[in-house]
Subunit: 346 residues, 2 copies
């Protein structure tokens, strides 16, 4: 099933509007969700629309929310998301951070009372389009991993995304969970009926779980043992606790609890690429280093792919042709349309 | 061999002064090195004095360097380290970032023409003592890891350190290399005659190397496969390329090349813990979350140790009693004293 970028955004916007979300927020959320599919991050794309709508109906997300700045300096801001859609809150956060960093060189914007904001990489990518590096940290909306050496799954796969703009070619764009696998990646594997790689999920005795339907019985594993566990906590403190948002035992599992606000926290840092040196020089140097890395020796003989390359490649291909949407995702969207008495179908 | 904190700093300061380093810089470098030993990070402690002195004699480090700010805004600064000792450059960078963040909420300081600055965690810990979170990124002074899927070791174990202050107990303090092991950790294992754990170093076919004396024949392995590889590149771009410092193929191996300046780059971000909420509330919330994590279920039955806990525990013990220094390190320091015609010995 393939659809054009614009068609998917328009359809998704209509679904959110029908749910009572104001037009401009519906469009922003739809754009961020379809952009995730566009960049091959389907675990954070349109697959999320039905769960979001369920949360709105159950009261877990406020359809009428208006995010607002509740504290502000020249280089920082705190946004109360009002329990609105995370994509709307984070888009506002990035735009504000970029505007402040343009003046101050660096800026930080934190969010409280936000929600799941989808594909982490979208937000630093927005900064990169303004000639800035972007760093995005967020508290994941479901736990599933103990601290290293522990047995209580009080930590989640908190994401880290970092973008650095380049003079040519796609920006460098890292988008990772601090666990070996995210809940989204497990969900995609489950929907595709694919077994989980060893190292993604462990049972309570440490043995591997590879059946995606049994993933919830076990623990997510961090990257690099205590290192990934520590990174997850660092992200949780910076994006959650500094903001007054949920972390640790306060995290609301948005997969199983549709009615309780998640109080999601996110932290975004925008840093002008020319904070230290002229922009043109920096961007040319980044491009040269990325080129050298891509062309360095490769096990397969093909040029190496760097973080962001595959997403940029898919984006180009899907914008030219159309985006593949899984039948189950299409069906879920069509079911939502029927429920909202929208005649349109994908 | 155990010595008091003050005795070690005094002896190390004398060695640096004898090498021609100005008094105040010698003291700062000695403090940072002994602090590393104090916190159990002996791979970045006094073990480094002899190699630093060798670099100074060979012209690889400028003993007369005076780091200076070459570009500055209210929330950012660029420091040219003048090829001085990295500990001196980074101490200046942190102090400047903390002073700027106190006004602006967040601040970034980058370095160029710096050098190896020792234990990464020391610098965010300085920010934490001022009620700020600190983020330190640096380009390692030796490569040894290919990009994921690659065969040319053009990347290094670039460190990431993040501190978040707490109302009581030690601050959260993550200090990790983006590789499974750092060169320093391998050096410590080699000096102790301990085999390397599987997963630290791979040979060119991907098989494990566990003999520490054979580590240089292989590649360092990243944490989390492509994720750690991507983190290393992100750190290299932010701390190296933005600053105009070395990254990738430009990195000078300070272990084998004592005479060429390394042009090390570092990036430090200071973020007021009260950027978004009152300080007392934030610090109390951090303390409560850290306590809850420490007291969550444990595989061993003992309370869990979080990043920074072990270092804080050692610091307390060693300050009360004295620091253990390995005989080989003591001998190297005494050899340097003899070479400098300093009568004093450890």
């Amino acid at each position: 099933m393939r659809y054009s970028f614009d068609e998917l955004i328009s359809f998704c916007t209509e679904l959110f509007c029908a749910a009572g979300i104001r037009d401009e927020h519906a469009l922003i959320a739809a754009q961020r969700l379809v952009e995730a599919d566009l960049r091959g991050r389907s675990g954070h794309g349109l697959i999320r629309v039905a769960p979001y709508l369920e949360r709105i109906r159950a009261g877990g997300i406020d359809r009428y929310a208006q995010p607002r700045v509740i504290r502000e300096t020249a280089a920082s801001a705190h946004i109360d998301g009002g329990n609105g859609l995370g994509q709307v809150v984070m888009t506002m956060a990035v735009e504000l951070a970029v505007a402040k960093a343009a003046e101050a060189g660096i800026a930080v914007v934190g969010t409280v009372n936000s929600n799941h904001a989808g594909a982490a990489g979208l937000y630093p990518a927005m900064a990169a389009r303004h000639g800035m590096a972007g760093i995005y940290l967020a508290v994941a909306n479901a736990n599933g991993m103990p601290p290293w050496g522990g047995t209580d799954p009080v930590l989640g796969p908190n994401p880290i995304s970092i973008a650095v703009p380049s003079a040519d070619g796609p920006p460098f764009l890292l988008d990772i969970a601090t666990t070996a696998a995210s809940h989204g990646a497990i969900k995609v594997a489950r929907q595709a009926g694919r077994p989980l790689p060893v190292g993604w999920v462990a049972d309570r005795e440490g043995g591997p779980i590879t059946d995606p339907d049994r993933a919830d019985e076990g623990f997510l594993l961090p990257i690099g043992g205590y290192k990934g566990s520590g990174l997850t906590i660092a992200v949780g403190l910076l994006a959650g606790v500094l903001n007054g948002a949920a972390f640790g035992h306060d995290v609301v599992d948005h997969r199983t609890n549709p009615s309780t606000p998640t109080n999601t926290g996110q932290l975004f840092i925008a840093l002008r690429a020319d904070a230290f040196r002229p922009l043109e020089t920096v961007l040319a140097d980044v491009a040269e280093h990325l080129r050298a890395l891509r062309e360095s020796g490769s096990q397969s003989g093909d040029p190496l792919r760097l973080p962001g390359d595959q997403a940029a490649h898919l984006e180009e291909e899907y914008l030219r042709d159309s985006l593949p949407i899984a039948p189950a995702v299409r069906d879920a969207l069509n079911t939502e349309a029927a429920r909202a008495n929208i005649p349109r179908r994908l």
